[in-house]
């Protein structure tokens, strides 16, 4: 068994790459090591001894935690990389099973059919809820099948999706919407968290590298 000796630079890089994805961390390591070596060589050429050159080059990099904060704003974190890697499993599952695709497209039609039945019986007030359920289901389930895979169309779809969702809750709860805000927030925290993470990924990845899930 060999013990790995961790240099001060390794430990600086370890702190600076905390919570970053493996690819991002490798990228940071490469650029920081390259920078450190250049600074060290310059100092040695200027007559500084190797130990002092190391210390000066490391000090010039600054506080690793502050740098880590900035890196996390511009490079993918491990949670974001995981979402990109695994977040598309629903789409893959649907694409692999055509019957599932048909079922997903049909789901919003079920409450819509109920709406029409209730309307035909003259139960207009009761028809409101299945209609809203149909609308909300359509916005979430139909997204992958709509032509939304350009930057602008994606933006319009996302705005429409959230506007529809908020409208559904406001219409469902009426004047009590604010009173039941805690219920709405607790029901929606997963979609909200997903949307926030996707928003962060969109800022970090060039559009050319966006997988389909980022448009939704």
């Amino acid at each position: 068994m060999t013990a790995r000796f961790e240099t001060p630079l390794d430990s600086w890089i370890g702190r600076a790459t905390c919570d970053l994805s493996l690819d991002s961390a490798a990228q940071v390591r490469a650029e920081i090591v390259e920078h450190f070596e250049s600074a060290r060589e310059t100092a040695i050429v200027a007559g500084t001894n190797a130990a002092d050159a190391d210390r000066a080059a490391l000090a010039a990099l600054g506080d690793a935690r502050a740098v880590n904060c900035q890196y996390r704003k511009v490079l993918l974190t491990s949670a974001e990389a995981k979402m990109l890697r695994e977040g598309n499993w629903e789409a893959r599952a649907v694409c692999a099973r055509p019957w599932l695709k048909t079922l997903m497209q049909a789901i919003p039609a079920i409450p819509l059919a109920v709406t029409f039945v209730m309307l035909s019986r003259g139960e207009a007030a009761g028809a409101r809820l299945p209609f809203l359920a149909s609308l909300a289901l359509f916005m979430f389930l139909a997204g992958p099948f709509l032509p939304v895979y350009t930057t602008w169309r994606g933006r319009v779809y996302r705005a429409a999706k959230w506007a529809a969702l908020i409208a559904v809750f406001v219409l469902a709860f009426g004047a009590d919407s604010l009173k039941y805000f805690w219920l709405i927030a607790s029901c929606l925290w997963i979609p909200i968290w997903t949307e926030a993470t996707r928003m962060s990924i969109r800022r970090k990845l060039p559009v050319a590298q966006w997988p389909k899930q980022l448009y939704l």
């Binding site: 390259e34 600074a39 690793a64 704003k73």
Partner: protein, 103 residues
């Protein structure tokens, strides 16, 4: 001296002169400001990545003294942003100078 917020503009200016790698960009900014703008060099790379994400700079691999390095060059939109930043800075600097000279 604290120059928070102006680092991206200084990077764009350094790259407008010639494509360069991170270490040389940092040294150029320090040298051109005669050491007044002394920043922590670790913060340079997040700023470079941000500029790259925004399409204002592009990176490529190059070789210098037998070592492979990542070089950055300013893009067309980067040049447009730099021109805008430069004129905004001149205006701001003129306004602040006017106020300080009155005091």
């Amino acid at each position: 001296m604290n120059f928070k917020g102006t680092l991206p503009t200084l990077i764009l200016q350094a790259l407008a002169e010639e494509p360069s790698h991170g270490y040389r960009i940092a040294q150029r900014i320090k040298a051109r400001s005669k050491g007044v703008l002394d920043f922590k060099e670790g913060t340079l790379y997040p700023a470079l990545h941000k500029l790259e994400n925004e399409g204002l700079v592009a990176s490529y691999e190059g070789v210098e003294q037998g070592r492979t390095r990542r070089y950055y060059r300013i893009t067309k939109s980067g040049k447009a942003v730099l021109t805008k930043d430069r004129s905004e800075w001149r205006e701001l600097s003129r306004a602040v100078t006017l106020i300080l000279e009155e005091a």
